[in-house]
């Protein structure tokens, strides 16, 4: 009964989405306020019914209702409760439901928190989100119904993929989806603005915090995924340029470009058309990501099902969304006046460079991700693109990006005197060159040139950020003034920027050092045997059998010591889950700020000896630390008081004769 309720709630949600997509939009065009006013209640309704549907599916997992096909495939009575809940989004149908649910959540959030926006604008934004919702809900109902029943009812479920029975992976998909779907808000704002033909500064200001929040979720999602892959897949890698990783990274890059270009549009009124195009691109790339993951066209850890009907549906949906929005863009964008003149050296031009670089990286990753599909489609052979290529692309472009990141905050809007800029960053240049040489010189072995480059870039970035901070605090004295500045209007944006950029410096160091200086060894060890690796002594104490809640495991014990002092006891496991009977490697990790020691079990050889994988990974934590800093920076920026105040001011300005230069700068 309850699953039928869920199914029915889905249908009602689709009905709501249909009305939401049509009525407010028509109302806004035909000047019928009563139709426009429907948008908010419909957003509520859609959210409520999807919440009911989602709760029904969660309930089906919790009570082990194996008459539901999806639960029978992915649930299990012995699954711990937390993984019963995360099993909801552990496979195709449920993850779509999560997608749609999160979309309705974002829709409701816009309806609730964007109260100060003009009703017509809100109506249009919500209508566009309703259209996207139609696509996903009908996809679910027509091809992938999570509530479909099965008969005869199995006694036990097929269990959740053991790789996904992990806390990191329980929250990775929701975070990532929050990001993917959150970009639909920026998309909808852009479409609504195009429909209205009014692309002014207030549009950028409305869109900015939403985009930043979505981008923060995307950042957290990607960071979590990378961390999970590191400790769960058992071979110590943190990024594989897997098509699905790329599918999440491309929207992230496009969204990064977007939040920077939105800044220019808001502050200077420039780049308007480009910003709109980026808004469309970022969300299109998230849809493309969904297509790649869900259609099974690419071989990946993440692809669930290879059902051609599903792939075709998403492909058609993708074409409608991308094609439709581009047509609208081509029709409307030429009317947008360009504003905000700037000279060749200005913050605008540097941000333009940043956007170009980010989009180029995106384009190359897209090429590498789609090339296997294209080659296959044209019968040119089956290929894959080696990850060295992706690495090369990234290593070539990122240094320029970091150089610009250092210059940007020191540079003035509109026009910057070159000599003055050089005078400002002189110290940073000297410091970074010095540090880089210091890091590269003493060793001059393989890789130290790159290490020097990475140190140079990070020191460059850090010192320029400090210089910019000093410049900002020039007229403020004491720590109290600093704290006050953080909470001031524009403070969140500024300090968020500092923190996020500093995160990039930390990330760069982490990536470079772990890539260049990690030590990895596959060995065979007998109980009692010791081995040296990177200055650490590993003693293998054999393997015992243990019993988990829904798995059996071999658990090895390794004593790690350094110069005779105990460092850690690591217990890597080789698990066999009872239902899916597939072996799983659980690595033993001793985590540290400066290094990780990482051990995973291979397989049992003769006479109690095992093959083992030992790693020494310097600064690997800095990669995720960088990600966390970037995300916190984004949050600070998104919740800048300025946006709330500014929106209120805009409303006041539309009501009364405009008095604020910024609010009226945009062309009508």
């Amino acid at each position: 009964m309850i699953p039928e309720l869920g199914h029915f709630a889905l249908i009602l949600a689709l009905a709501m989405a249909l009305v939401l997509a049509i009525m407010p939009m028509i109302g806004s065009l035909s000047n019928t306020p009563s139709w426009v006013a429907l948008a908010r209640p419909l957003a509520w309704g859609q959210f409520t019914f999807l919440l009911i549907a989602f709760a029904c599916l969660v309930n089906a997992f919790l009570v082990n209702d194996f008459s539901v096909t999806y639960v029978a495939q992915h649930g299990n009575t012995r699954l711990p409760n937390i993984y019963k809940i995360s099993a909801v989004w552990g496979a195709h149908e449920g993850s779509l439901l999560l997608w749609a649910f999160i979309l309705s959540g974002w829709t409701l959030a816009v309806a609730l928190f964007a109260r100060q926006l003009p009703d017509v604008m809100i109506g249009r934004v919500l209508a566009v989100m309703g259209m996207i919702s139609i696509g996903f809900l009908s996809f679910m109902l027509f091809t992938s119904n999570p509530f479909a029943r099965t008969f005869p009812v199995p006694l036990e479920g097929g269990d959740l993929n053991p790789l996904l029975q992990d806390f990191g992976l329980a929250i990775h998909p929701p975070m990532l989806y929050m990001g993917y779907v959150g970009l639909s808000v920026a998309f909808s704002f852009a479409i609504a603005a195009l429909v209205g033909g009014k692309l002014d500064i207030s549009w950028a200001r409305w869109s900015r915090p939403w985009t930043t929040v979505a981008w923060v979720f995307l950042t957290i999602g990607i960071t979590l995924g990378s961390w999970w892959a590191y400790y769960e897949l058992g071979w110590g890698g943190w990024w594989f340029w897997d098509p699905v990783e790329n599918a999440s990274f491309m929207p992230w890059l496009a969204a990064t470009a977007l939040i920077h270009s939105l800044a220019v549009t808001e502050k200077r009124g420039a780049f308007k058309r480009w910003t709109v195009l980026l808004s469309l691109l970022a969300f299109s790339l998230s849809l493309l990501g969904t297509f790649l993951v869900r259609s099974g066209v690419l071989t990946s850890v993440h692809s669930f099902a290879a059902d051609p009907a599903r792939g075709l549906f998403i492909l058609i949906f993708l074409c409608i969304v991308i094609g439709g929005s581009l047509v609208l863009y081509a029709w409307r964008a030429p009317n947008v006046t360009s504003g905000g003149e700037f000279s060749a050296l200005s913050r605008e031009s540097l941000l333009l460079g940043n956007n170009l670089l980010l989009i180029m990286i995106t384009a190359f990753i897209l090429l590498g991700t789609l090339a296997p599909l294209i080659y296959d489609a044209f019968g040119w052979g089956k290929i894959s693109v080696g990850f060295p290529w992706f690495n090369t692309m990234f290593v070539i472009f990122t240094p320029f990006l970091v150089l610009l990141m250092g210059l940007g905050p020191l540079t003035r809007w509109k026009q910057q005197d070159a000599a003055d800029l050089v005078r400002q960053f002189r110290i940073a240049l000297l410091a970074s060159l010095g540090a880089g040489l210091l890091a590269a010189l003493p060793l001059l072995h393989e890789g130290s040139v790159y290490a020097g480059l990475a140190v140079m870039l990070s020191v460059w970035l850090t010192t320029t950020l400090l210089l910019s901070l000093r410049k900002r605090l020039r007229h403020r004295q004491g720590f109290g003034a600093f704290l006050k500045d953080i909470r001031a209007r524009g403070g969140g944006s500024y300090y968020g920027m500092l923190l996020a950029h500093f995160g990039v410096a930390v990330f760069t160091i982490g990536v470079t050092f772990v890539t260049l200086f990690d030590v990895e060894k596959d060995v065979r060890m007998a109980p009692g045997e010791t081995l040296e690796l990177a200055g650490y002594t590993f003693r293998f104490d054999g393997v015992e059998k243990i019993q988990g809640p829904n798995y059996r495991a071999d658990r090895g014990t390794l004593h790690v010591s350094r110069h005779g002092q105990d460092v850690a006891v690591l217990k890597p496991e080789k698990r066999t889950y009872l239902v899916q009977t597939r072996p799983m490697t659980e690595a033993g990790i001793d985590a540290g700020f400066f290094r990780d020691i990482y051990v995973s079990l291979g397989e049992a050889l003769d006479a109690g000896s095992w093959s083992l994988r030992l790693y020494y990974k310097p600064l690997v934590r800095w990669i995720w630390l960088g990600g966390i800093l970037i995300a916190i920076g984004g949050l600070l920026a998104a919740f800048d008081r300025r946006y709330r105040l500014a929106v209120r001011r805009d409303v006041a300005a539309t009501a009364a004769p405009p008095g604020d230069a910024l609010a009226t700068e945009g062309p009508a």
Binding site: L367, K382, S384, P583, M584
Partner: protein, 151 residues
């Protein structure tokens, strides 16, 4: 040309030049990093280049897995049900590697058509067949049926 306009033209030319150089390098590197996939019968027919990084895939032949005395070097045969080639790999095999399972190996073809693998992939699902391997098996089955009719 006004100075402002000249500045703008210079900026655009610089940007275009930069993008052009970058794209050139990227495509060159792209070509060098393309890894083609070959099935065992293609390797036997001599279609696969020696010494270049390629991928091969097929089913691990039953009873073919041999471990060398160091415990880490493994040799096994993979087949597309037409021909069989030998793959050698030093290191820890993935969890899901077993006989009869479809796998993909990345590496280089050495002398005597021995394939030296740098990485062996067995996918994260025991019922899962890498699409390349599935296609290869289907192709060889059809080819087999074809020659059967001809004879």
């Amino acid at each position: 040309m006004t100075p402002k306009r000249r500045n703008r033209v210079i900026l655009i030319v610089l940007v275009l030049a930069g993008v052009g150089v970058a794209v050139g390098f990227a495509l060159k590197a792209f070509n060098e990093n393309l890894m083609f996939f070959y099935q065992p019968s293609q390797v036997i027919a001599g279609e696969a280049p020696a010494g270049r990084l390629i991928r091969v895939g097929g089913l691990v032949t039953n009873g073919s897995v041999e471990r060398q005395p160091d415990g880490l070097t493994v040799q096994f045969a993979i087949t597309d049900n037409v021909d069989t080639i030998t793959v050698q790999y030093t290191g820890i095999l993935p969890d899901l590697f077993r006989e009869g399972q479809g796998i993909i190996a990345r590496g280089r073809l050495g002398d005597d058509r021995l394939f030296i693998a740098e990485e062996v992939l067995a996918k994260h699902d025991e019922n899962y067949m890498p699409p390349e391997v599935a296609d290869a098996l289907k192709a060889s089955q059809e080819a087999g049926a074809g020659t059967g009719n001809a004879q």
